[in-house]
């Protein structure tokens, strides 16, 4: 377990040292040496080839005026016309802006909340309290969005539980669930309620793999509780945090669909329009067609790629592994 505690650079340095030796071998020699690893990887590659790359080749229709009833190659190529249409739509930029806003809120508030919960859990000594709390907070993750939104309306809606209590004490009804201006906060609460407990689990797993004797040694050396958290706990889960952050960045433009669509009427389209709902209302209800949606998907993918590359680069500079290494 030592590798986790010592910060990453030596480990990645070790990884880089090996190829240099191997480079001197021929491809055939390396193949003979490494074939078991390839065999292990093969099933996954087959799965990807069939269920990812084959259907992904269809993305070419983002550059076509596609109809399923023509032989494929008779569909006319239209260059970037679909992308032009995407960018010239007056609702596209606001949707992109909202998407980034929600994605940032998710990264900055939900993510740390999961870490915070995990650290809190880790610091609780009583196993009973720990397992009770754990087995409660992750449950909402399994609720569909319809149910989550229902629960929020029942609890925090204008005619909800809290409103009626407030009314009983001479207060006013909440207008929280119908207010577009505070929708980010509402959405944040919904994520926190639904997902934070679940996110906690993976960090707990990472925390579980930190060697307790390190704490003991530090404590014996006189390090306080906070110091131990800062110098042992956080570095211990740093690779996991960085990794998850990078991966989240890749999917940053996919913030969800149902949550926003369900609350569209309640808080208004201006607050809830994200890329996914935009494409839905344009390409399925607004009948812009399959090519349009594909173009929007490619655009999202491109942004995701750039973000992953940047984040990975930053991670390398900070001495972390990231998701792949420069060799």
């Amino acid at each position: 377990m030592a590798a986790l505690q010592t910060s990453a650079p030596p480990a990645s340095g070790g990884g880089q040292a090996r190829p240099r030796i191997k480079r001197t071998q021929t491809f055939g020699q390396r193949l003979r040496h490494d074939w078991p690893l390839l065999v292990l990887t093969l099933p996954a590659l087959v799965q990807l080839a069939v269920f990812f790359y084959w259907p992904s080749a269809w993305n070419i229709i983002a550059f076509m005026d596609y109809s399923p009833y023509r032989p494929f190659w008779e569909n006319p190529f239209v260059g970037l016309a679909w992308f032009e249409r995407l960018f010239s739509d007056p609702y596209f930029l606001p949707a992109l802006g909202n998407t980034l806003k929600f994605a940032l809120a998710q990264l900055m508030f939900v993510f740390p909340l999961s870490i915070g919960l995990a650290l809190l859990m880790h610091s609780v000594v009583s196993t009973k309290v720990r397992s009770t709390f754990q087995s409660i907070v992750y449950l909402p993750y399994f609720f569909s969005w319809v149910l989550v939104v229902t629960v929020f309306i029942q609890m925090l809606g204008s005619d909800g539980l809290v409103s009626n209590w407030a009314l009983g004490f001479g207060g006013d009804r909440l207008s929280f669930t119908t207010d577009g201006d505070t929708f980010v906060l509402l959405a944040w609460m919904q994520w926190a309620w639904k997902d934070a407990g679940w996110g906690m689990i993976i960090f707990l797993a990472a925390l579980a793999s930190i060697n307790p004797s390190l704490y003991e040694a530090a404590a014996v050396d006189g390090a306080s509780r906070w110091k131990r958290m800062w110098h042992i706990t956080l570095p211990g889960i740093r690779p996991v945090i960085v990794l998850l952050l990078i991966l989240q960045l890749g999917g940053i433009l996919t913030v969800g669909f149902e949550q926003y669509q369900l609350q569209r009427e309640a808080v208004g389209y201006q607050a809830t329009e994200v890329l996914d709902t935009f494409v839905y209302y344009r390409s399925i209800i607004g009948s812009q067609g399959e090519s349009f949606g594909t173009a929007a998907g490619l655009f999202k993918g491109a942004i995701g790629l750039v973000l992953i590359l940047i984040a990975n680069n930053v991670a390398h500079r900070l001495g972390e592994q990231g998701i792949y290494q420069k060799s």
Binding site: Y91, T178, R264, E265, G297
Partner: protein, 564 residues
């Protein structure tokens, strides 16, 4: 108006799950026409009458005349008694094929082992038609995929309001479905007397042109569903609560508002209204469907949002919000207004006509208390009321083009069977199932569903809607039929004239997008997020971003249709 309202909640609350944008983006929509290099989404039109290749109409004499004689289409006749059923198809064909049909269904799918299916198969001559019960909530979206991949079994049922997810449906139809023209053309009364007895208009509405440019290529592609005119929706008031509060059922919009003010009590948690978005435009004389009317004076098509009544309508909706006359969580999308209406939390509720009989049945069964009645034809500012009503085929059953001619003929035998009207043995088994299993005769001789019958035969879409009836009537519980018949009588004079009769018009894609945006803004105003003063700029945005293009498209269609 031929096209169903874009306000259909199916659209707003589609369960379409976008696991990623790829999912959301690719419902597989074919397209036509022009924006730069893209030839897509310019909309289309399809004439639906005046063909010479439809089945020759030959009246199929009803076994029994209706007790209540109305004035179809918008004041349909009805039955308040149940006759001894007669056999409609005397020369029963014998079929041996087995087919699979995809059909939308809401709620829990019934078991496929149920005796209903076997009994029906036997009754119509042995042909086995297995039903693929696909989820109704997602059907419009998912069926688009199945059709493009030609993976829907031997047939599929599609409701006309579902076509929003199938833009350029014409191309799908021409490439995927069996062309029935040669089989149905001319005299078919010998083999399919019930199909020959169907209204020519219903067949006309099942026609698509294989080449949009050439009207000569029009062909029959679908078996049309039933046509039942009259109001399909209403706003229902709780008459018992009105009475208890000493209030009368309103007869004008102004009275309605007064009733709402008198009854609502925000602090006590009771509100007169819940949803008011899709039904209320009629009260202000606004057009249904895409919202166009022909203005004789200006000699052009005018959209709802360009009319002063539009502002009045939004003022009305805003008043409900400002004065707290409507449930504060009405827009939240997860509350069930039916339940709130039954609990007496809300006084008025907009719903389909089915809600009326359901509520009445539940009161009878002791599952609900109270009484409801629909608000009649009302209008604001002393105008003559306007009532939106549907007079279109509800949908079609399409057959796969891979079937052989013999197979299609066998399926048409079944369709012929399914077209049998009220008062026949065919109708009874399709509509009510097997006596003793799915229904029993009540004291007045009317079939009453058993619990199994409710679950298997009544609720889901099944063989009942396989092919439209020769004639459609109001049927069911006698009191309800009586009430609805009388209600229709009071409404029939105010029914909106359908200026698109004889043509199916599909909006250009831009217009649909602009329409969506305008509806979002309407909600902003109605729920207090935007001001009424923003209407002019909102209308301008709408017109500039697709509204004017839609006007051109619809004007061309209108002129072609009305010979201007």
């Amino acid at each position: 108006m031929a096209t169903p309202s874009r306000r259909s909640p199916f659209r707003r609350r589609s369960l379409f799950k976008a696991a990623g944008i790829g999912t959301a983006g690719a419902a597989g929509l074919p397209m036509i026409a022009a924006c730069g290099d893209i030839e897509s989404g310019s909309g289309s039109t399809q004439v639906t009458e005046g063909f010479d290749f439809l089945p020759n109409y030959k009246e199929w004499p009803l076994p029994i005349e209706p007790d209540l004689v109305g004035e179809p289409p918008h004041h349909p006749s009805g039955f308040t008694s149940y006759p001894e059923p007669v056999q409609a198809v005397t020369d029963l064909p014998s079929g041996s094929g087995t087919y699979e049909f995809t059909i939308p269904m809401w709620g829990e799918a019934p078991s496929k082992d149920d005796p209903y299916y076997a009994a029906v198969h036997e009754a119509w001559g042995g042909t086995v038609i297995n039903i693929r019960h696909a989820d109704g909530n997602t059907f419009a979206d998912t069926s688009a995929q199945w059709l493009q991949a030609n993976e829907f079994g031997d047939g599929i049922q599609i409701f006309s309001w579902m076509l929003y997810a199938h833009p350029n449906f014409r191309e799908t139809v021409a490439n995927t479905f069996y062309d029935l023209t040669d089989l149905l053309k001319g005299d078919i009364a010998d083999r399919w007397p019930l199909l020959a007895g169907r209204d020519t208009a219903a067949w006309g509405k099942s026609v698509w042109s294989t080449d949009p440019e050439d009207p000569e290529t029009a062909r029959i592609f679908g078996i049309p569903g039933s046509i039942l005119g009259g109001p399909a929706n209403a706003v229902y008031g709780r008459t018992d609560l009105l009475e208890a509060a000493g209030l009368a059922m309103p007869t004008t919009v102004e009275e309605l508002l007064e009733v709402g003010r008198a009854w609502s009590d925000d602090a006590a948690g009771q509100w007169a209204f819940f949803g008011t978005d899709w039904f209320t435009p009629a009260w202000f004389g606004l057009a249904s469907g895409e919202g166009w009317i022909w203005d004789e004076e200006q000699d052009k098509l005018i959209h709802n949002c360009e009319r002063p009544e539009y502002t009045e309508w939004l003022e009305f909706r805003r008043t409900l919000h400002d004065e707290k006359l409507q449930h504060p969580d009405a827009a939240s999308g997860t509350l069930e207004p039916k339940d709130l209406h039954k609990a007496g939390t809300i006084l008025f509720h907009q719903d389909g006509i089915q809600y009326w009989s359901d509520f009445t049945n539940q009161v009878k069964g002791g599952e609900a208390e109270g009484a409801i009645a629909p608000i009649g034809a009302i209008a604001a500012n002393g105008r003559t009321p306007l009532v939106h009503a549907v007079n279109d085929v509800e949908g079609w059953v399409f057959l796969s083009k891979d079937l052989s001619q013999e197979q299609v003929e066998e399926i048409l035998d079944v369709a012929n069977f399914c077209s049998a009207p009220y008062g026949t043995k065919e109708f009874e088994i399709l509509e009510y199932g097997v006596e003793g299993e799915h229904f029993n005769y009540g004291d007045d001789g009317t079939p009453v569903y058993t619990e199994l019958g409710t679950a298997v035969v009544q609720a889901p879409v099944n063989y009942k809607t396989f092919s439209g009836r020769v004639q459609t009537f109001l049927t069911g519980q006698p009191e309800f039929v009586q009430d609805r018949f009388e209600y229709n009588a009071t409404m029939k004079d105010y029914i909106e004239a359908n200026i698109w009769e004889g043509m199916r018009v599909e909006s250009p894609a831009d217009a649909v997008a602009a329409d969506q945006a305008r509806q979002d803004q309407e909600n902003d105003i109605a729920y207090g997020r935007a001001e009424l003063s923003e209407i002019p700029s909102m209308v301008e945005t709408y017109l500039n971003n697709g509204g004017e293009a839609a006007r051109e498209h619809f004007t061309a269609a209108y002129k072609a249709l009305h010979g201007k």
